[in-house]
């Protein structure tokens, strides 16, 4: 039954470009989809593993920049007399580089997170993202700094002579983003419902107990961060080859905040949470803009919303809805008070 529901939902989502005539709305959906991928990846780290990582935008931006640079080709002096020249590579290869390098930086952060805990870790991750932003801004020779990387090529996939997909127009990008989002969702779901996922949750809930039954803390922190970072890098690469301009603003802290809001309000540690949160906070700006509300007011609303969610729905929207639904179901059946099944059954 649940399978059919998912397939129907997926078919519906896939059909959108076929009947949606407003290209601007399609654009909004694509950007929202990219953010949802980033939010899902953050959820793995923040929600499931319980790591207060506030530098997530760094992985997104690294994916975007690396993918762009490799697809454009670049020359840079690593030392005054050492010129490194890289020819432009096919976009799919560039995207892979973006994902891998984002994953590697995730590995570094993961290693650090074991030594540096709690609030200090928050600060390290924020600082890391800021450093990367400043590097992107100031290493003009490589990144063009604030002048941005332009004319980034779009993805081309195919077998020469047989067929070729050129992901230039919006519908094609929509399907690409949808495909990547589905893949990421499936990967995360498989991870969560496995021994690795249980280990991550164990670390979040009770680390000393987790180690006492054999969970290797460093190993799982690193794994979680790496996968999370690689997915965020994928989102960044998708972004770069869709909007085809990338500048250091892609590293702004405000985007990390957006992802955090999506994950927390949707429900951290649930599979559906980042999707619900992503849809709400991806589409909300557009609805507010349509109502002619200034962006500053919109952000004030976001800030207040986040506070309200933390106060009244501390677990997020998805768990709250689930609990309400279960409350209704058991009331209808007339069952006597029975402790609710835990969120572990996701």
């Amino acid at each position: 039954m649940k399978r059919w529901l998912s397939v129907t939902w997926l078919v519906f989502l896939a059909s959108v470009p076929l009947w949606l005539t407003d290209l601007y709305v399609l654009h909004v959906l694509i950007i929202t989809g990219i953010f949802i991928i980033a939010a899902m990846s953050l959820n793995l780290l923040l929600g499931y593993t319980g790591q207060l990582s506030l530098g997530h935008v760094a992985f997104f931006g690294i994916g975007a920049y690396v993918s762009s640079l490799v697809s454009l080709g670049f020359e840079v002096h690593l030392l005054p007399d050492w010129l490194v020249k890289v020819e432009a590579k096919p976009v799919w290869f560039a995207m892979l580089c973006g994902i891998i390098l984002a994953g590697l930086s995730g590995w570094v952060i993961g290693k650090i997170s074991f030594k540096v805990r709690g609030a200090y870790f928050v600060i390290v991750t924020v600082s890391f993202a800021e450093v990367v932003r400043l590097v992107a801004l100031n290493w003009v020779e490589l990144t063009q700094g604030p002048m941005a990387l332009n004319n980034i090529p779009a993805l081309r996939l195919g077998i020469p002579g047989v067929f070729e997909w050129h992901f230039l127009r919006k519908p094609a990008n929509y399907w690409l983003v949808l495909a990547v989002a589905v893949i990421c969702y499936v990967l995360i779901r498989r991870l969560v419902h496995s021994r690795a996922g249980r280990a991550m949750v164990a670390l979040r809930e009770n680390e000393p107990l987790a180690t006492s039954v054999g969970v290797n803390v460093t190993h799982y922190l690193v794994v979680a961060t790496m996968i999370s970072a690689a997915m965020a890098g994928a989102a960044g690469a998708l972004y770069a080859h869709y909007v085809r301009i990338v500048d250091p603003d892609v590293f702004l802290f405000i985007y990390t905040v957006t992802m955090v809001i999506m994950v927390v309000s949707g429900g951290k540690g649930t599979l559906a949470g980042p999707i619900v949160g992503g849809l709400i906070f991806g589409l909300l700006p557009e609805m507010l803009r349509a109502a002619a509300i200034k962006p500053e007011v919109q952000w004030v609303i976001y800030g207040v919303l986040m506070i309200l969610v933390v106060y009244f729905l501390p677990e997020g929207i998805v768990p709250a809805v689930r609990r309400w639904w279960q409350g209704r179901a058991s009331a209808a059946v007339g069952a006597t008070a029975r402790p609710p099944a835990a969120e572990a059954a996701r």
């Binding site: 600082s127 450093v131 400043l134 007011v297 919303l305 986040m306 506070i307």
Partner: protein, 290 residues
């Protein structure tokens, strides 16, 4: 050599205000364990208060300074009372998220009220700098330095020489015992947050006239304040003071001799390197991590 002296002097003056930022945050982060993302907003609030009172209301510069600090303390107290009191026992990510929400709301309210255009504030100081041999310093900056030192000394005295300070330190070391000894915990929390916010507002009020005032000025200030607190160790006022000066020196020397575009990045690199070597900060005191 002259260049070095000038950088050194600039760093000294900058360090004073950085120390204020750091002390304010170490009180909040150290005592209350709140990852206070609104600290930078109090900083810009202080600056905007100066702008409003001096440029709009025509109030005397020095009076406006006092007003800015007092209003900053009141804003801090309000934030604590409204937002944090209910979250007293909650875990650190919950309070952090609430602080992020408050930060976004505050910053955008500032943007709405005063627009994003940078503002400058008139000062009563002569514009010609004071020349001391090979180095020169503007009167404004000198004033900033003197006031900052005064506030640092006052903070130190408050924490170490007064009953209020003793109560704060007791709450920091062991909340339950302090409560049992009759310390009014709620009041201490509000007072501490107000004090820390007041210091941030003071830093902003002092530096606002030196530079310009714009809505996002608090962001870097926030991050630097965290850097300073980590350098100096959670809850340590001497540590935050020293940390503030160290950061200022690194920025000035880095900007002068390495790359001026990257000067703000110095602080963050410092944080990362230090935490890698000593995960609890340089002058670690009674740390309880996370």
């Amino acid at each position: 050599m002259d260049q070095l002296l000038q950088h050194g002097l600039n760093a000294l003056i900058l360090g004073g205000t950085y120390a204020l930022l750091g002390i304010g945050l170490t009180l909040i982060f150290g005592i209350m364990r709140v990852v206070n993302f609104t600290h930078g907003e109090l900083y810009s609030f202080g600056a905007y208060m100066m702008f409003m009172w001096v440029m709009f209301a025509g109030v005397n510069f020095f009076l406006a300074l006092i007003l800015a600090v007092v209003l900053g303390m009141m804003l801090g107290a309000t934030l604590e009372f409204l937002l944090l009191r209910r979250l007293r026992g909650a875990d650190i990510d919950t309070t952090m998220l609430v602080m992020i929400g408050a930060w976004i709301a505050l910053q955008n309210m500032e943007q709405l009220t005063w627009s994003g255009v940078a503002k400058s504030i008139d000062t009563p100081f002569p514009s010609a700098p004071l020349v001391l041999g090979p180095v020169s310093v503007s009167w404004n900056r000198l004033f900033v330095f003197v006031v900052a030192l005064g506030l640092i000394a006052a903070s130190y005295a408050l924490i170490n020489r007064t009953r209020l300070g003793k109560a704060m330190r007791a709450t920091f070391q062991d909340r339950e015992t302090a409560a049992l000894m009759g310390v009014e915990i709620n009041f201490i929390h509000t007072a501490t947050f107000a004090l820390g916010s007041g210091l941030a507002a003071a830093a902003g009020a002092l530096l606002g006239p030196v530079f310009v005032v714009y809505p996002t000025m608090g962001d870097l200030a926030s991050l630097k304040a965290f850097a300073i607190v980590i350098l100096g160790g959670l809850g340590s006022i001497p540590g935050a003071t020293i940390g503030g000066f160290i950061l200022a020196f690194m920025e000035e020397l880095g900007a002068g001799y390495v790359s001026s575009g990257f000067r703000d990045g110095m602080g963050f690199l410092v944080i990362i390197v230090i935490l890698l070597i000593k995960p609890t900060g340089l002058f670690a005191q009674k740390e309880r991590i996370g």
